[in-house]
């Protein structure tokens, strides 16, 4: 394959595989958070605020894949 083609393939593969982990992680975190809210609805505010932070941390590997993919295409 030509290097130009390879760059786009690499970007697609890195993003596709990189999105897998964060998707699972965020689903798990969200599910657990709602479980916790269901058990203790008074703590909903506290849980939701930490939920966003934890989700953003889970997301970071996906973001790394995104940065790699963007570098593949534009740099």
């Amino acid at each position: 394959m030509e290097s130009e083609v390879l760059r786009y393939v690499a970007a697609g593969v890195s993003m596709g595989l990189g999105a897998l982990g964060p998707a699972l992680a965020e689903g798990y975190v969200g599910g657990k958070a709602y479980e916790a809210i269901g058990r203790n609805p008074e703590a909903a505010d506290k849980i939701t605020s930490t939920l966003f932070v934890v989700m953003a941390i889970c997301e970071s590997t996906g973001i790394y894949a995104l940065v790699v993919a963007l570098l593949c295409i534009f740099a």
Binding site: M55, A56, I57, I63, V67, L71, F74
Partner: protein
């Protein structure tokens, strides 16, 4: 096609120092924040007016959330100014990207058009400086609060072979801290910019609206995440409270 570049473009030069578009907006945000703070501080009084009440409420709420993370009022008092400055700075830098019509302006040059607006933190240099500030301060705080001996011991622990290897892993962990903190912020903001550009290119009407909401959420959450991670790292570096030990001795 769409105009996307990984590095910010140079708008104009002052004495050979290239002023890039993201640096320009960074300065705008800094001046705006300074102006706001000075404006509030000028009319600071014992019996507060409406604006002062609002500012005090926000600050109080944040003080509580930060002390929930650090776990002590004393640490919070020391970390609060830095962390809150980081939060508001990142937040305002991000919120500027939601300003409508800004991206319509560009300068015409020989080598093509240069867009005037760029999200201030969609430039890896700026983000890296913020991160290095935090990670560097972590080292300084660790040494000043816990002494140079425990500091070196977390890297080079000769008590057993396993501890030595784990200590070397800590060095990697510290580097990863800097990398992940900076890539998270940069990646999110740059991705938001690219996403908006792609959506605008595909369908300029209606389609970008949900993505605007998404980027609005990202703006706030990323500022929050950066500030709270900085709080956690800095709070850890300051070590355990001394007061706990005193209470134990009294018993």
């Amino acid at each position: 096609m769409i105009n996307i570049s990984l590095s910010p473009e140079v708008l104009f030069t002052i004495f050979g120092f290239g002023v890039t578009n993201s640096f320009f907006w960074q300065m705008v945000v800094t001046l705006l924040l300074l102006g706001m703070i000075l404006g509030v501080m000028k009319k600071w009084q014992l019996i507060p007016n409406k604006l002062q009440v609002a500012v005090e409420m926000v600050v109080e709420w944040m003080l509580n959330s930060v002390s929930m993370m650090t776990g002590s009022r004393d640490k919070t008092k020391k970390l609060f100014p830095l962390v809150i400055t980081l939060f508001f700075y990142i937040l305002f830098c991000n919120l500027f990207s939601l300003m409508p019509a800004l991206s319509a302006f560009s300068l015409r040059r020989e080598q093509g058009e240069v867009p005037i607006f760029r999200t201030a933190l969609a430039d890896y240099g700026q983000v890296l400086v913020l991160t290095l500030l935090v990670v560097g301060l972590v080292q300084v705080l660790f040494i000043t609060y816990q002494g140079i001996k425990p500091y070196m011991k977390q890297w080079f622990d000769f008590s057993s072979p396993i501890n030595f290897v784990l200590g070397l892993m800590n060095i990697v962990g510290e580097l990863a801290k800097a990398l992940s903190l900076s890539f998270r912020l940069f990646g999110n903001l740059f991705a938001g910019e690219v996403l908006t550009a792609v959506m605008m290119f595909l369908a300029p009407f209606i389609l970008p609206i949900p993505f605007t909401f998404l980027s609005m959420l990202t703006c706030v959450v990323q500022a929050l995440v950066f500030a709270s991670l900085a709080t956690v790292y800095l709070g850890q570096a300051m070590g355990e409270e001394k007061e706990v030990a005193v209470v134990k001795n009294k018993k």
